[in-house]
Symmetry: C2
Subunit: 261 residues, 2 copies
């Protein structure tokens, strides 16, 4: 098979702005109505969904790119929680429909197809935890952008299903380090809400009573003198996070609690 000269003029122009060969893939996770949600996108002409993603600008690091993608899609700024969890590369022919869709997720007018014509590109993967209620979805003209329940994902392109599974298994290993409640819930929340996050992530039921005791014992959660009326049963108390403590722990990367629940 004959090989074209890999770098064309148009590519030279593209790489003035972006680092070629490298994409950033974001698993944007939120929490609503007892379920973990993942934000996916889809080009209107296609019927398969993709993780949000894009390229790295020449003047930013990969983390910056991930934050930029997050902000452009959801309006959430840099205070969201972000974590690298995987990288890999794969063959990629621009002629291949699957890969083309993947590349066109973002910056579609700016990136010429031959940006990846060399047959390989590297994917840098992140998961990001955001407050669902704060998100204002902002789709481009050519795309759809939608939250999906993690237990009812649509058909996904290529490796993206695998990436989601991998992220979840990485997250499970780190339960003690990640302040899920702080990242996923609004300021005021109830204990059952917090618990259902952990249940969704761990994929199993947790004892209501023991969970409550443990959460209160680590000292990052304050009870408020309020309750939330929500149904034919006792109204649960509202709690809030001691933000300063969480921030300090985040900076030092300290373990908040044991990994057992």
């Amino acid at each position: 098979m004959e090989r074209k000269a890999p770098f064309t003029e148009s590519m030279n122009r593209a790489v003035e702005t972006f680092v070629p060969y490298i994409s950033v893939d974001c698993i944007i996770m939120g929490f609503d109505a007892g379920c973990i949600k993942i934000l996916l996108c889809k080009r209107k002409e296609s019927d398969k969904w993709l993780l949000t993603g894009g390229f790295i600008r020449r003047d930013e690091g990969p983390d910056d790119s991930a934050y930029r993608i997050l902000e452009s899609k959801t309006g959430i700024g840099r205070d969201g929680f972000l974590k690298q969890f995987y990288f890999f590369n794969k063959k990629c022919n621009a002629g291949d429909d699957e890969n083309l869709m993947m590349l066109k997720r973002l910056d579609v007018e700016e990136i010429p197809e031959n940006m990846v014509n060399l047959g390989r590109f590297v994917s840098l993967s992140y998961y990001l935890l955001v407050k669902y209620q704060d998100v204002e979805i902002a789709a481009e003209e050519y795309e759809e952008l939608e939250w999906f329940d993690i237990n009812a994902l649509p058909e996904l392109y290529g490796t993206h299903g695998m990436l989601i599974n991998l992220a979840v298994s990485e997250i499970r290993k780190q339960v003690g380090f990640i302040p899920f409640g702080y990242e996923l819930l609004p300021d005021k929340f109830t204990m059952p809400e917090l618990r259902s996050i952990y249940e969704a992530i761990l994929g199993r039921e947790l004892d209501r009573r023991n969970f409550q005791r443990k959460m209160l014992s680590i000292g990052y959660i304050q009870p408020l003198n309020e309750v939330r009326k929500e149904g034919a049963h006792k109204s649960p108390h509202l709690y809030t996070f001691v933000k300063e403590k969480y921030r300090a722990a985040k900076i030092k990367d300290v373990q908040l609690m044991s990994n057992n629940l």
Copy 2:
């Protein structure tokens, strides 16, 4: 500041073989005489040391590159333990001595300087655990290759000191998942040897008696009917790993024991 056309003919040739802009950095760790050792390299004309590393070939994934680098420097094949732990990018001018050294670590004849002339490149970082005794160091003509005690590292280029610290802190979070003994020790080993690995990694002393009980209780270690004479004291028993169990656990990424020691 005027900008040269980023892609020259020589670069076009180079990228027929390698993926540009991306380097793989390996923290190769071994264990000897009670200390964690890290394999570093240095070009003869320089006096600062670097992590081992290289570029990604067009026909391989990043993990393949890491294994290839490992094998070319130490002779250790794919059965070594490898784990991605970080990626980032940084500004990089080939004219800058520091970066030039970094790039010249490997493939020096093949990679033209302008491989990275665009001012940015991404580093993909791994740590690798190997059996020190099995390593046969193979340096190129132009370089030196040497084990350093992790507590007595020489002056390192750029970000490499930071990467080592980051790797250690990632490893600490995963004590329960990584079978250090299996990866770092020869087939037959004593309990004090195993313990001193954990002490070196965790950076604190562990209770001899409790450690032994815990290690035996997880069922991955078998006592042998042998001892090793080594000094003016009772000879410690030799143990060996139940390899099948370790392999099965590795594939399933199962937690071997709690993270507490």
